[in-house]
Symmetry: C2
Subunit: 420 residues, 2 copies
Amino acid sequence: MIQSKLFSRTSKNISKEEISLNARLLIKGGFVDKLAAGVYSLLPLGWRVVKKIENIIREEMEMLGGQELFLPTVHPKKNWEATGRWSSMGEDLYKIEAEKGANFVLGPTHEEVLVPLAKKFVSSYKDLPLYVYQFQNKFRREKRVKSGVLRTREFLMKDLYSFHADQKDLDDYYEKVKKSYGRIFQRCGIGEKTYLTYASGGTFSKYSHEFQTLTPAGEDLIYICEKCGTAVNKEILADQDNQCPQCGSKKLREEKAVEVGNIFKLGTKFSQPFGLFYSKENGEKQLAVMGCYGIGLQRLMGAIAEVENDERGLTWPTAVAPFQVHLLELDPRDPQNRKSARQIYGILQAKGIEVLWDDRAGKLAGEKFADCDLIGIPYRLVISKKTLQSGKYELKERKAANGKLVSLEELPEIILKGRG
Amino acid sequence: MIQSKLFSRTSKNISKEEISLNARLLIKGGFVDKLAAGVYSLLPLGWRVVKKIENIIREEMEMLGGQELFLPTVHPKKNWEATGRWSSMGEDLYKIEAEKGANFVLGPTHEEVLVPLAKKFVSSYKDLPLYVYQFQNKFRREKRVKSGVLRTREFLMKDLYSFHADQKDLDDYYEKVKKSYGRIFQRCGIGEKTYLTYASGGTFSKYSHEFQTLTPAGEDLIYICEKCGTAVNKEILADQDNQCPQCGSKKLREEKAVEVGNIFKLGTKFSQPFGLFYSKENGEKQLAVMGCYGIGLQRLMGAIAEVENDERGLTWPTAVAPFQVHLLELDPRDPQNRKSARQIYGILQAKGIEVLWDDRAGKLAGEKFADCDLIGIPYRLVISKKTLQSGKYELKERKAANGKLVSLEELPEIILKGRG
């Protein structure tokens, strides 16, 4: 991508009203724009990050046997009355009226649509298990919206739902999803800081689980077991008698964290109100047992931004960075410079490496370096009169203090290696 | 994909309330499900079709220099008041109230969000032209919703917006988009039946253009010039004095059609209320000139379904079909059959061919053939005791009357050739 054509610009000074670190970093770098309290646009750079996250998650969902679909965001009132959530979630729901008294909910989640839909296709034990997922907008009538993209009125969510013949099959699948979620956060570069956290389980299960990423900006408090590394959230700490539910140790340390995913055994909570029965091998009717598994996409991007930054800007992990290489052309008016930049841009792209080429004339070297740090692409590659004289190019990792001079021949290999 | 695991099922008998041909075909084949009037879920098969359409459009948008982003669907009231559309489109808008009297619109289109956003980044003639697009849900408070997926309360739309320094630059780009749209409908398999149609242009341009696909179910009437093949819509026929605006001929024939895309020169209609000025080379301030270009994704799928079907079901064009090959295993309980099916499934997939494998036991051959015709995948490949004895497999194109026996060696090449 040619930076002079890029829609967004970096900005040094942004509104003091925006107090969250993730939003400040993402707005400065040109990844998001704030439209209203709790409502953000994803600009081309931010959309690239979200798409990378989405693709990582999609690969993992496919490995779990998930089938992708796309459910409406507009849900009939009667579906939400069937589960009682029209009233119980009343204040948290956006409600709209279509023609002639037809009332709808803007979906904050999709059980109320998916379960009656599954009922049309599931009749026998042979139809189970079944796993479906989507990436779709969710709407939540949030009261507090001071956490940037971590908590918004509207956001993209990956929601996976599983349907099983019995509890044992749900339990087995749940463990697979738990591992899959671990891989997702690992691949997104925040594996080290993300903890499997015990949370309360509702009617059908003692526990549910959250994935919590440590950050000083986190809205949640979690308690990490010093012995086994499992965590519990505040909500259930007292229930646990201040003990790790995994290993029993009492040495727990408190940390601030942000929830980046949650998995939940729903049991028959939703199959019951919609009558999602199936016939067992002996002909007996039984309710299907369900699980649900969510990850908010902008929230995950925000959590990565909270963790991966320094005083100069963002420091994206390679797998979710908008580009792998930021090519800075320091003297764009010099024909040799331009020729060399165009050549390298072509060579790297031909190798499948994504490059943002700062070709802007009229920008000082210092401004280009500062923008490059704000945006936080993993590799910075500098072309200047100086590097051209040496016949080499200066390659610097975003997180490294210093760069090194490399030849054109070495370049792609080093970058591809860094991508892992 | 293994059909026994597929979420959806075909259905022979569907509600008589669903009167539109596209929805009847798509529901029977298991592509969509009707949640409420004008609200449809995209099931895994339907989602695959929409994703193929999306990818074709994305390739064309990238060739037009478009940058993809993702704007919120929840828009502040004040943006819609700025353009006067809070009142003028009042009855067609869904309005929601967030906390403390904060009113929002669910976006039926995105000028009200994008133009003030562009204002943050556009200041000089050097920043123009600029092209951005997205695939995002749109909401319209439709009164008539009897056309299946052609007209719904909520749908995915590709919307491209262009920003230019002057009318000449817009005019040139507009012609490029016109050609690009022609390619999109060609690639989606409805090029022959889709007509560039003159429509009224609003304040800033004499004409806008629609792309209209001929179908007896179409809500629109268009008038096609027998001489040059250009069409005009009913709205402007009288203004034109019943004459083709392209070549002047008066021989026009009336046809029913459905609008699958539209392109529009907005001029300064939206840059004016938001003050989207840029500085010219001489320092003078001038309003940016805009164009907008839309395609509804479910609507395009519906139009293809209206055009591509026969009395037995759908007949998808290869480029948008959910799979390229429907592999029917007629005797799944026979070990030879199963072995052969698994082998072919593996070979075809390794060649990058997408296969739906009907591995279902307990289904009669006739049921499998009928389902195969309903779903409408371009190639049907049959494995049975009979074909195994001949050492060949029966390959039939969905639209052909008869199949032919082909060897395993020939198979991938024939299918890949058909894909074009």
